[in-house]
Every structure is written in structure tokens, then in C-alpha cells.
Amino acid sequence: MHAAPAPDEVIRTRGLVRSFAMGSATVHALRGVDLVIRRGEYVAIMGPSGSGKSTLMNLIGCLDTPTAGEYWLEGQPIASLGEAELARIRNREIGFVFQTFNLLPRASALRNVELPLVYAQMPPAERRRRATEALQKVGLGDRLDHRPNELSGGQRQRVSIARALVTNPALLLADEPTGNLDSKTSHEIMLLFEALHREGHTIVVVTHERDIAEHAERVVTIRDGAIASDERQPRPVRP
């Protein structure tokens, strides 16, 4: 197979197509995307709304399956996997960070972060230890028992980042992570991503904001369901 992924590739897609039936018409959200992301890269996927970047993110995040094309995550072919295997991949290999945080409102920060480990069948004591560590890492070691409504927006997003990190996934996948935050808090969150990047985490941030994308070392622009540009940036200048 000429496109077999190399060992340092976290993501490789080939001719990725995703179409939706809208009544009698077919909408082509993605029209053949070839993308390779290597271990340790920090990539921003940019594009206006309706460009197909969310569709691409859902495919990369294994929340959706492509209409055509191939996708390898950590060398595993994903396109042919069933529901239960996709759930396992999401659990082990991917950490999601959402624009709206998507924390469980009735659960404490600690229990929110434990959630992926629950589905990984980890024993409670181990789970608690790992979740506590993850929260300490994002600077919330003193907020373990707080519920989401007792935390500020920035703190909620930190909880959600801790939840994404707790399984030590191959890929951190953030969808407009600062969309619901003020600029000062946004900046703090982006600094956190950079710190994680320096630790060696592979990070993909989907955004439509240029200044957020500028924090990444590589910017992939999507337009009309295809990659319009793919540029490496000089090391971002930190103010």
C-alpha cells in the first residue's frame, strides 16, 4: 500500500470525503482531504463557517465515519471500524476540548476528569489519582470538589483540558477552545496549550480566529471542503 502511514504519523488521511444527503440534494462537506500530522506537532485548522472544518474535526475525532477515503490514527485504519471500536479509540487515543466545555453539570471537577477513565474500566483509586494529577497539571489542584457552576469559564476549560489529557491520548483535539472566553482568559488557555505542546503532546486546534491559529506552528486552511493552504509558521512571538 503506497500510502501506509509512517511510524511517527499520528494522523494520515487520504482522499477523505464526507457527503450528507439533504433531502434530494447531496451536500459535499469534504471533497477529498489528504492530511498528515506527525507526533508532537501543533496544528491549527482554520476556515470560515461552512468550510468543512467541523466535519473534518468530527472525522479526525472518530465521532463520524467518512463517505469515502481512508484514515489512519496511530497507524490504525479507522474507516472500517465498528461503533464499539470507535468508542474505544475515542477513549484511548483522543482527548476532546470543546468550545462549550461540555462538563457534566452535577459532577465535581474530579469526577468530570475521571469520566474517560470510567469507560477505560480503571479501578476507582487509580482513577482518582490520575484525575487529581491531571487537574494539578492544569493548575486546579485546589478545585477538585467544585462543580462546573462554581468555577469561572477559564477554570471550566481547564477542567475540560484535564479531562482530555487524563487518558494520555495520542491526540489533543480542541474545537474553538476559546470561543466562549474573554481575551485574557483565552490567552491563558493558549499558553497552556503551548506548554502541553512543549511537553510533546500532539495538538490540533480547530478555529476561525486568526490570532488563535497563530499560536500553532502549522496552519491548515480549509475552504469549500478542501485544503486551501498548509503553512508552517515561524515560532510564534509571545508578547
Binding site: G61, A87, N91, F96, L115, P116, Y119, Q121
Partner: protein, 406 residues
């Protein structure tokens, strides 16, 4: 996800919506409470009847003109066909059935009792041979039982039930005193110990007099009930067959013709009773079954609402790695716990009701030990049956749509 985790989650969510959960469960609560309370009453009655019947004594059976009659036509047929049983029949049994240890007979009438201004109306007057008092144990409180020479001479003597003694002779020792039955004056020779009541009917409202005296007072037209005590209780069936053969021969029945008399045994009465209560229980089960189905549908409805309310939560869980199986398990466990919670409340209500009934009414309700496990099994089945559809609906939500919902 482990089942314990799912259980904890379910309890949290039930607790978070406690009023709604309780209202949802009313159908199951009422259904389980009703059926368990019914079972408790029937269980209590069965135990009680079995106990009372065992008083009748081991190896004792009664030959009567009418056996167990369950409908009007049977009664009419029996009234037309069945001959009166006579003291001669009883004597024949005593002579020809070696397995019969004691044979006694009794005939009943109803009359008013008088002593001065004390009157008891419509009391059961039993004319008995002394053997009857031995076969159906009558415990003596004061005085003595009736004697054979009193039977031989139709002596004007009486043995009183507890209630009769209390009402005719308040604060007086009745032994040796007189009472009047119709025109006759009888002397009290003994009183019986209290037997108590059966389903609210007193069992102490009777007078026993010698059979020969009874015939003098009320004539010889009544059919007698013949009580037989088998020599060996283990050979009861054979003794019954021998007695049956003797009575059939005296009645000149052709082979194959049905008996024109009835034989009652403690087991026979017990069986009849159990058949009766089982029928009641089945009817109750059917009625309650409907309420449980309604209760199940209400649970299904509320679980469907919960799926809609928690769409986003389901999306998050799927995004972090919950499989469809995990989601099905979570919602199914919640439905089962919900339903079992209803069952637990229903059992508690039934337990309280049975205890109150037993304490305050003549109904001998007794809480059956098998009720809780059976009720929980039924509730689990309801939870699974009515929970599976909402659970599958939750599991099949598209994670992308679910995460977008609000």
C-alpha cells in the same frame, strides 16, 4: 463501565429528580403494594385455616349427607338423591370397619337459650354421642364432658361453649345450674375452654347435649354427621375406603354410581380452601398486572424524557469513550433501579398494611417471606422490558448531534 458505576449514576439521577421519580413510580408502588398485601392476607388465611383444621385431630374424618357443595345445582341434586345418614349407619361402621377406632355422631338444631332474664337466640344445639367429644377434642374448662350413661338415659344435661357460659352465667359458676332450651330444663355439667373466633365468627357459641335427648326434643328426622377416628392415621385413606364401602352397601348403590354422601377430611377441606384462595389470588394478580403494565409504561415514558433531557450528557459520554453498550447499560440500570425502588416502597406499604390488618381486624394477615424476592424479580423484569427502548434510543444518538443539542 462497571455495573456498580452505572448503579451509582442511576441513583444520583433518581435522587436529583426525586419528586418526579416518586410520581413516576406510583403505578408500580400501588401494584406491588396491592399484590403483596393480597398475598399476605391469603398467606395468613391459609396458615390459619391449616392450623384450625389440624385441631380436628390426626386421622379424623366426617361422613355427612352433603359433602363439599360448590354450587346450587350440586346442592339440589344432592338434596334429591342423598339419603339421611342414621345412627344405624354409624353403628354399622363401628362394627364392620376394623380400622375405625372411635365412631361418634352428631346432629344439629338451632334454638334459643334462657336462664332467668338472660337469653341467647339461635344457638347451635349439638346432639352428640360422648365419643364425638373425644374425637374432636373439646377442652374442659370447668366440670366434665358428657358421659355414656347420660346418653343411655337421655339425661337432661348440657355441656356449654365458652361464650354461652359467659353470657348465660356472668359472674356465676355454671356447674350444677339449670338452663332452658325450649320447654326443657337442663343441668350444666361442664364448660369448654375458649376456642376463639374464625374469621370473626365465634367458635364458642354452642351447647352440646346427649344425642338421645336431642332426638326427644327435636325428633329423629335430622341426618347425623358421623365422625370417625382411624386407628392408624397413616392408613387413613384405606379406612376412608372401608367406611365408604359400608355406607354404599347400606344405601344399595350399584357399582359405578356416585356416592350419595360426602366425606370430609382436614386435607380435603384444606385443598378446597387453597383452590378458593388461589382463584382469588389469580384474579388479584390479573388486576394488579394491569397496574404494573401501566406503571411500566410510565417508567418508559419518563426514561424517554430523561434521554431527551440528557442528550448532551450522552454526547459527552460518547465523545470520551462510552460505547453504545455502556449507554444502554446506564439507562437500563436506571430503569431497573427506578422500578425496584417502586417495588421496595410497595413492599414496605404492604408490610405495614399486613401488620395493621392483623392487629386490628379478624383477618389473620401474615407477610409471606417469598414476597420481597418475587416482587424484586418482577420489578427487574418491568425495568428491563420497559427500559430497553429508551436505553437503545439513547445509545443510538449520533454523538455529533447530541453534543450540539441544548
Amino acid at each position: 463501565m462497571r455495573i456498580v458505576e452505572a448503579g451509582k449514576l442511576a441513583l444520583e439521577s433518581i435522587w436529583a429528580n426525586r419528586l418526579r421519580s416518586f410520581l413516576t413510580l406510583l403505578g408500580v408502588i400501588i401494584g406491588i403494594a396491592a399484590i403483596v398485601a393480597t398475598a399476605a392476607v391469603i398467606h395468613g388465611l391459609n396458615r390459619y385455616v391449616a392450623e384450625k383444621l389440624s385441631n380436628l385431630g390426626k386421622g379424623v374424618f366426617v361422613v355427612q349427607r352433603f359433602g363439599i357443595i360448590t354450587n346450587r345445582q350440586e346442592f339440589l341434586d344432592a338434596a334429591r338423591r342423598n339419603k339421611r345418614l342414621l345412627p344405624a349407619d354409624a353403628r354399622a361402621i363401628a362394627e364392620r370397619v376394623p380400622g375405625a377406632e372411635i365412631v361418634g355422631w352428631e346432629v344439629h338444631a338451632t334454638a334459643d337459650l334462657e336462664r332467668g332474664e338472660h337469653v341467647i337466640r339461635d344457638t347451635d344445639i349439638g346432639g352428640v354421642t360422648p365419643a364425638i367429644l373425644e374425637i374432636e377434642p373439646y377442652e374442659v374448662a370447668e366440670g366434665r364432658l358428657l358421659l355414656q350413661h347420660e346418653e343411655d338415659h337421655a339425661a337432661a344435661v348440657a355441656f356449654l361453649g365458652h361464650e354461652v357460659a359467659q353470657r348465660l352465667f356472668p359472674n356465676v359458676d355454671p356447674i350444677g345450674k339449670e338452663l332452658r332450651i325450649g320447654g326443657a330444663r337442663l343441668t350444666v355439667v361442664g364448660t369448654a375452654a375458649q376456642k376463639g373466633s374464625f374469621l370473626g365468627f365465634s367458635q364458642d357459641n354452642y351447647v352440646k347435649i346427649p344425642f338421645s335427648l336431642h332426638q326427644k326434643l327435636y325428633g329423629t328426622l335430622g341426618s347425623v354427621n358421623i365422625s370417625v377416628k382411624a386407628r392408624e392415621p397413616a392408613r387413613l385413606e384405606e379406612t376412608i375406603d372401608e367406611v365408604r364401602a359400608v355406607v354404599r352397601a347400606r344405601h344399595h348403590l350399584r357399582p359405578g354410581a356416585p356416592d350419595d354422601f360426602g366425606i370430609l377430611t382436614a386435607e380435603g377441606i384444606n385443598d378446597l380452601w387453597r383452590n378458593l384462595t388461589q382463584t382469588i389470588f389469580r384474579v388479584a394478580l390479573f388486576v394488579v398486572g394491569i397496574s404494573l403494565v401501566v406503571g411500566g409504561i410510565v417508567i418508559m415514558n419518563i426514561m424517554l424524557v430523561a434521554v431527551v433531557e440528557r442528550t448532551r450528557e450522552i454526547g459527552v459520554r460518547k465523545a470520551v469513550g462510552a460505547s453504545q453498550r455502556d449507554i444502554v447499560q446506564q439507562f437500563l440500570v436506571e430503569a431497573v433501579l427506578l422500578s425496584c425502588l417502586g417495588g421496595a416502597i410497595g413492599i414496605a406499604i404492604a408490610y405495614a398494611a399486613a401488620t395493621l390488618l392483623a392487629a386490628n381486624t379478624p383477618l389473620p394477615a401474615e407477610f409471606p417471606p417469598w414476597a420481597p424476592p418475587v416482587a424484586f424479580a418482577v420489578c427487574t423484569a418491568i425495568g428491563v422490558f420497559f427500559g430497553i427502548h429508551p436505553a437503545r434510543r439513547a445509545a443510538h444518538l449520533d454523538p455529533i448531534e447530541a453534543l450540539r443539542s441544548e
